[in-house]
């Protein structure tokens, strides 16, 4: 029996010829990281052991959630991180002014390569599967263990093969494909499993859209999301100075075993909106019959804060104004994205429209700061979760959608298709 790409990576790193779903293996990890919320507990684990980190080059500490420090407690958490980094002389740390959202920053800066085994103390670590790595989120204690030993244990997951066919409609992006998919299988539809995204429509999908899709694999309960590397992957890495002799390309065997195969014709998918309070409450935008008035629109996060996302938003916002009493908050995910958007004139488009632009941070996505919702307020957001209380008040309502739909909705003051604003 052949193996899936996920099995192959785990087998390689566990030093085995073959691994089977359900088997538990101890494997060597290639990259380990944590953020300002999860790092302090992991750091404490390493300190209590009285050891150094296993490999300074393979540890990254990224203060992105509540930075620039939102309050005294957050500042103290960041200080724990910074002190540890300085004391151990760790190279992979980004100060405010350099830092971006971890899952946007790491691929952008060339830290992610195909075939790597990656663990991060953040559930959206699955993002990095877009580059053909096996990447999964864990808690702080697991990361402390990985920081100290360079190892982690894994239950080899069953894989679900998603086969996307057909041509995407105008405005339909990676975000729509993944919201549609989660809507189809549910928030526990891939629990403990690997989501392998395949098919012609994936082969044509730009890397940033693939990152968005793998990012939300966890919203279906998955252990990882993964895309086999191809020309688009090679090109993305080349742009970061990584030539193809620096990594191997693994693919799933033709006779690999899948727990199920799910075919999706993307030509039938229209822009998607996930209703409160689950990412699986996805509907096609034309199914929305009653007006959903909004108080806030948010474009950013590890899901949709990359340059292509800001370009999509700018296409809609150019020459338009945000509706009265609506707040449009735009947060480029990294400093590089910020600078690029500035260079391309996107900031002028956003500012002319009446949006506010923040420095890179996770900020409002998890209800940290920079855009907290009041009781009864409605936000349409490009982020990944619309749980009760996720963006502030537990009496608020969050709808998830793509950057173009969020931008259009900010202009209209209600959730709307981009074509409606541009006609």
């Amino acid at each position: 029996m052949g193996m899936t790409i996920s099995q192959k990576i785990l087998a390689n790193k566990a030093n085995k010829d073959e691994v089977k779903p359900g088997e538990i293996v101890m494997a060597d990890v290639d990259l380990t990281f944590a953020n300002d919320i999860t790092a302090p507990i992991a750091i404490d684990f390493v300190k209590r052991l009285g050891v150094d980190v296993f490999d300074k080059g393979k540890v990254a500490l990224i203060p992105d959630h509540f930075t620039p420090n939102k309050d005294i407690n957050s500042a103290n958490q960041c200080k724990i991180m910074r002190d540890f980094v300085m004391e151990r002389n760790l190279p992979n740390y980004w100060e405010t002014g350099e830092v971006g959202i971890e899952h946007a920053l790491l691929p952008e800066q060339g830290y992610i390569k195909p075939g790597m085994l990656i663990v991060g103390a953040d559930s959206h670590t699955c993002t990095h599967g877009a580059l053909g790595a096996f990447a999964t989120g864990m808690g702080s204690t697991d990361l402390g263990f990985a920081f100290a030993t360079g190892k982690s244990w894994f239950r080899v997951p069953e894989s679900i093969k998603f086969i996307y066919k057909g041509k995407r409609k105008k405005w339909v992006v990676g975000k729509d494909l993944i919201l549609y998919t989660i809507g189809k299988i549910g928030v526990a539809g891939a629990l403990y499993k690997s989501m392998e995204f395949t098919g012609d429509a994936i082969r044509e999908l730009p890397m940033e859209d693939r990152l968005t899709m793998c990012n939300m694999a966890v919203e279906a309960g998955a252990k990882n999301g993964i895309v086999e590397p191809d020309e688009i992957t090679v090109e993305y890495l080349k742009e970061r100075g990584i030539e193809n002799d620096q990594y191997g390309i693994l693919k799933s065997d033709a006779d690999a075993e899948y727990s199920s195969l799910i075919e999706i014709d993307v030509s039938n998918i229209e822009p998607q909106v996930a209703f409160p309070h689950l990412p699986s409450n996805a509907k096609g935008i034309s199914e929305i019959k009653d007006d959903i008035k909004i108080n806030q629109a948010f474009i950013g996060s590890c899901t949709n804060g990359r340059i292509s996302d800001l370009r999509e938003a700018a296409k809609v916002l150019k020459g338009k104004k945000v509706a009265k009493y609506v707040r449009l908050i735009i947060i480029p995910a990294t400093v590089q994205v910020y600078r690029q958007a500035l260079k391309e004139g996107l900031f002028d488009v956003f500012l002319d429209a009446g949006a506010v632009i923040s420095t890179p941070t996770c900020g409002p996505c998890l209800g940290g700061y920079m855009g907290i919702l009041a009781d009864g307020e409605v936000c349409v957001s490009t982020s990944n979760r619309n749980f009760v209380g996720r963006m502030g008040s537990k009496k608020a309502f969050v709808y998830l959608s793509s950057p173009a739909v969020v931008a259009a909705s900010a202009v209209a003051g209600k959730i709307i298709h981009p074509d409606e604003v541009l006609k």
């Binding site: 407690n73 103390a121 697991d142 030993t149 244990w153 526990a188 998890l366 940290g368 009760v388 209380g389």
Partner: protein, 163 residues
């Protein structure tokens, strides 16, 4: 271990944002986290929870964020055990890692708030005291049992690193 206690009953998809909202994640202090445990799903929980209480729930308990603060807050609230139809995978690992006993069972269907149950964590049996019905929980994987026996992930790291 035998745990006898009264239950708090919740439905499916109890996510880590409602277990401990992110607005309280600017600390890792377990007592501080416990003060806000379950706040966005049940305001009475933190006020009324007693040592030895048990949380029972439906499918996909602990979904969403990887924040270990969620099981830490539950454990620091005095909760002795969480029993759900299924758990999200990160929460499952986190609970094991910090020593919060968790079991997979459908017992929630039989229970109302404040009912009492008796849990035998070793046998994986759950007895509903009001009617004597017994539920079996799924078996804990052998590797994880060994983890528990060696005293959790911290001691396991010590073994590997020989420190």
């Amino acid at each position: 271990m035998i745990i006898k206690g009264r239950v708090w009953v919740y439905s499916d998809n109890v996510d880590t944002d409602v277990i401990i909202p992110a607005r309280y994640l600017n600390t890792s202090d377990s007592k501080e986290l416990a003060k806000h445990c379950m706040e966005d799903i049940d305001e009475s929980f933190a006020k009324e929870v007693k040592n030895g209480d048990i949380i029972v729930a439906g499918y996909n308990f602990g979904s969403g964020s990887s924040r270990e603060h969620a099981p830490i807050a539950i454990k620091a609230s005095g909760v002795a055990c969480v029993i759900a139809k299924s758990f999200s995978r990160i929460f499952y690992r986190n609970a094991f890692n910090i020593g919060l006993p968790i079991l997979e069972s459908n017992v929630v269907d039989e229970l109302e708030k404040s009912d009492e149950i008796e849990v035998d964590t070793k046998k994986g049996q759950i007895k509903v005291l009001k009617n004597g019905k017994v539920f079996e929980s799924s078996v804990i994987p052998e590797f994880m049992q060994r983890l528990i026996e060696s005293g959790g992930l911290f001691n396991y790291a010590k073994e590997i690193l020989k420190v």
